[in-house]
Amino acid sequence: MGFMPGCSLPSYTPEGVKKTMEYLKQIYPDLGGVQKCCGKGTKALGQEEKFKERFAGLQKDIDDVGIETMIVACQNCYKTIKETSDHTDVESLWTLLPKIGLPEEVRGKAKDSDVVFGIHDSCSTRYEKEIQDGIRWIMSELGYRVEETEHSRENARCCGFGGMIVPANPDLATRVMKRRADDFESDHVVVYCAACRSSMMKVGKKAFHILDLLWGPVVYNEEPAPEDVLSSPAKSWINRYKSKHAVRQVVKA
């Protein structure tokens, strides 16, 4: 059993990565860890050969540390490994948590919150009902209220970040982000992809990664959402570096 934070999540929240791994380590004491990109970005550009090469590198890392089942918190990592690896099993953190349960101290912690979260499902896993159910289960366990929209679950719309269109067609990307934000009545949106969070933040939503809600303080209406870290490349890479150390630290603890 191992955990792989991916790219955008460790760039956003080393703290979230660390706490998640610490909890997983309690359940799976022999938890391993890999921090590397799954190559989805390379693949999305259409660089087929380079993607094969890069994924092979990831596969080697996974094999080197003897991980048979990889737990992931990114929907693109989930899909990429599932579609590409011929021997590594992949499990989404969002389906695993309902099976292993949440730590006692976080259960019901947000029952007094006045926030109603819109749920932004990731378009890459629009047909993964179990993942979507897991998110709703976590929200309910924490005590948060949520609202479903016409564009929930399999009807999810892109946050605007997908397909590497931001650098290719930034004006369009912004329109897609705005349109997605308009799907929600609530100002507050919970996401389970750090890139989606950044998109929603860019167009004025108070967006929270579900790990912010799981490990962070209880959210109330008046308070601002965490900073849009991914908009700053410098901060993102520093975070990614910190996350790498968190992975090493927790596994070796």
Binding site: K36, G41, L45, G46, I67, W237
Partner: protein
């Protein structure tokens, strides 16, 4: 640059099957392909003039058709096939005409003179449409009609209470505006021979209609007081009278013409009107509206009975009918072959009108071959006859309703125009689009569609209307028309276009985008590189087209032809980003420990 075979295949698969530009059910069913949903939307917005202009793009007689069209559009309307309550398309068309039609809006330009002359025989809808199209193509056109009034069967077949004559005259004035010449009261084959006409003109359109009534060979048919529907309706149309008719009138037949005869009978003073049909009530070929309106007017229906004998008194006048019970109307092969039982009944009447079919009378002295019902033999695609300069349209070639006659008139005109320009009659023509066709549109009902009832119109009370020739239907009020227009489902696919913002920047539907790619063999890389690959399009596509995958295939080909790099400038940063994502500085692997 070259794209791989799979990209071409996927793109052509989508282009061939995409329903984005597929016609709505109403428009495909209309032989003239009126843009129904467009003008209904315009009425809904209160833009009556816009609606009228949309109708007039295809139809020169919106008010006429709004009253009497047999509206195949309504039969195929999604609200009919789903809920049995079609949009009142015809009623809305009439509404637009009544609110907005004026001569100043008519598009009356004609083409450069060609020096060619065409004779059109018949001033009915087929002849008139052919004349309009030929005039617009720059030919001189002369319409001949044996009647002194325009409109053909619309004038002498369809009763005035359904179609006021001033409506026909007003709408036909368009032909005069275009410069079509009329020679009324001239009968071809009698006043002028068909051969003479062919000599005098470069081409001839035969659209003389089916004006010969028929009476089946039943015993007693020679009695005084037996008439055919054509003569009956024609005399009533022209004079509001039929002096030879008595007071107790039996109409034999089950179609719209029979209903028209029955309802007209009240209006010339009948005291009792029977409608006797072989078919049972639920199988009558007449339109439901005409059946309902006849019943409201107290026409007594005797359905499922055939005429055994017309009974005469000593003076040879009709005194009644002996009817025999029908067992079946059609045989196993669907052919008309009525079977009767021994059961009979007698009805006392003094007049019989047979509305059991009408034929085309030959006006060509046998120069054109005829088939069943006197219809001239034509090539169904071009309406060409055995004479190269002669084309037949309307009833003369086999249409059944006014709007079909118009489509056939248009078809014959298109062929005549090609003949006059010495062009091939068929080359490059899409015959499917020249008549009703079945649309490929196959989409789920729009979300939240409710079964809303059809907005009923304003009919004068049966008691009042059945004794005069004034219009029985007063048409929609503004409020009713708006309400009815709001029921339109605006049937179209383009479901992906409601999901995808990006494709809207490059076309109206995937067919545009991929069709252009197939045509040009290339695509601006910004298009495939603007796809979010979110799968929203495929999710809502009724055909599950893999649009994102197709764009991805294109991306891969761009990479192959660009040294392994994306052609988009902005992607240079992603390349660096990806490189770092795999670099040792940011990556780690750690084996778990117990």
């Amino acid at each position: 640059m070259e794209f791989k075979k799979n990209v071409w295949e996927q793109a052509s698969h989508i282009t061939d099957g995409c329903m984005g530009h597929e016609d709505a059910f109403c428009t495909a069913a209309c032989p003239m392909h009126t843009d129904v949903k467009k003008y209904i939307a315009q009425i809904g917005k209160g833009d009556y003039e816009g609606a009228l202009k949309t109708i007039r793009e295809k139809l020169f007689l919106p008010n006429t058709l709004g009253r009497i069209c047999a509206h195949p559009c309504e039969t195929d309307c999604r609200r009919n096939t789903e809920f049995g309550q079609p949009l009142s398309v015809a009623g809305l068309k009439r509404f637009a005409a009544e609110r907005a039609d004026r001569k100043e809006l008519w598009e009356d330009s004609v083409g450069e003179p060609t020096g060619k002359r065409v004779a059109v025989i018949g001033a009915g809808p087929a002849g008139a449409q052919a004349a309009i199209d030929l005039r617009k193509a720059g030919h001189e056109v002369v319409i001949y009609d044996k009647l002194h009034v325009v409109g053909g069967m619309m004038r002498v077949g369809i009763p005035e209470y359904r179609l006021p004559r001033e409506v026909i005259d007003f709408e036909y004035s368009y032909l005069v505006d275009l410069g079509v010449e009329f020679k009324m009261g001239v009968e071809i084959g009698k006043d002028v021979t068909f051969s003479q006409l062919r000599e005098d003109y470069d081409s001839v359109i035969v659209a003389n209609g089916a004006h010969k009534g028929t009476i089946p060979p039943v015993p007693g048919k020679d009695a005084e007081g037996v008439f055919n529907a054509v003569d009956y309706l024609k005399d009533i149309s022209l004079t509001h009278k039929f002096p030879k008719a008595g007071k107790k009138i039996a109409v034999i037949g089950g179609g719209d013409v029979a209903m028209d005869c029955a309802r007209s009978s009240w209006r010339i003073g009948a005291e009792e009107v029977l409608l006797i049909s072989l078919e049972e009530l639920e199988n009558l070929p007449a339109s439901q509206e005409e059946i309902d309106e006849s019943q409201e007017e107290d026409v007594q229906f005797i359905n499922g009975w055939g005429t055994d004998e017309i009974l005469k008194d000593k003076a040879g006048k009709v005194k009644g009918l002996r009817l025999k019970k029908v067992l079946s109307v059609f045989d196993e092969n669907g052919r008309f072959a009525p079977q009767f039982s021994e059961e009979t009944q007698e009805v006392k009447i003094d007049t019989v009108v047979f509305a059991t079919g009408q034929q085309v009378e030959d006006i060509t002295d046998g120069q054109l071959e005829q088939k069943g019902g006197g219809r001239y033999v034509t090539d169904p695609d071009t309406l060409a006859t055995n004479l190269p300069d002669v084309f037949a349209a309307g009833d003369a070639s086999g249409g059944a309703i006014v709007v079909q006659a118009m489509a056939l008139g248009r078809k014959a005109a298109a062929s005549a125009d090609r003949f006059l320009k010495e062009k091939d009659l068929a080359e490059g023509r899409n015959f499917k689009l020249e008549y009703s066709f079945e649309t490929r549109l196959d989409v789920p009902l729009p979300k939240g569609t409710e079964n809303l009832p059809r907005t009923s119109g304003n009919h004068r009370s049966a008691k009042e209307r059945k004794r005069d020739f004034k219009a029985f239907d007063l048409g929609y009020t503004d409020e009713q028309a708006q309400k009815e227009a709001s029921r339109c489902l605006q049937c179209e696919c383009k479901l992906c276009m409601t999901e995808c913002l990006m494709m809207n920047d490059y076309g109206e539907c995937p067919q545009d985008i991929f069709g252009e790619f197939l045509e040009k063999g290339e695509i601006d890389p910004i298009i495939p590189y603007s796809c979010n690959m979110c799968g929203g399009c495929t999710h809502v596509c009724p055909n599950d087209y893999k649009i994102g995958e197709t764009f991805m295939g294109m991306r891969k080909d761009f990479i192959l032809h660009n040294d392994g790099k994306s052609p988009m400038d902005g992607h240079k940063a992603i390349e660096v980003h990806q490189k770092l994502g795999f670099s040792k500085i940011f990556c780690t692997k750690v084996k778990g420990v117990k």
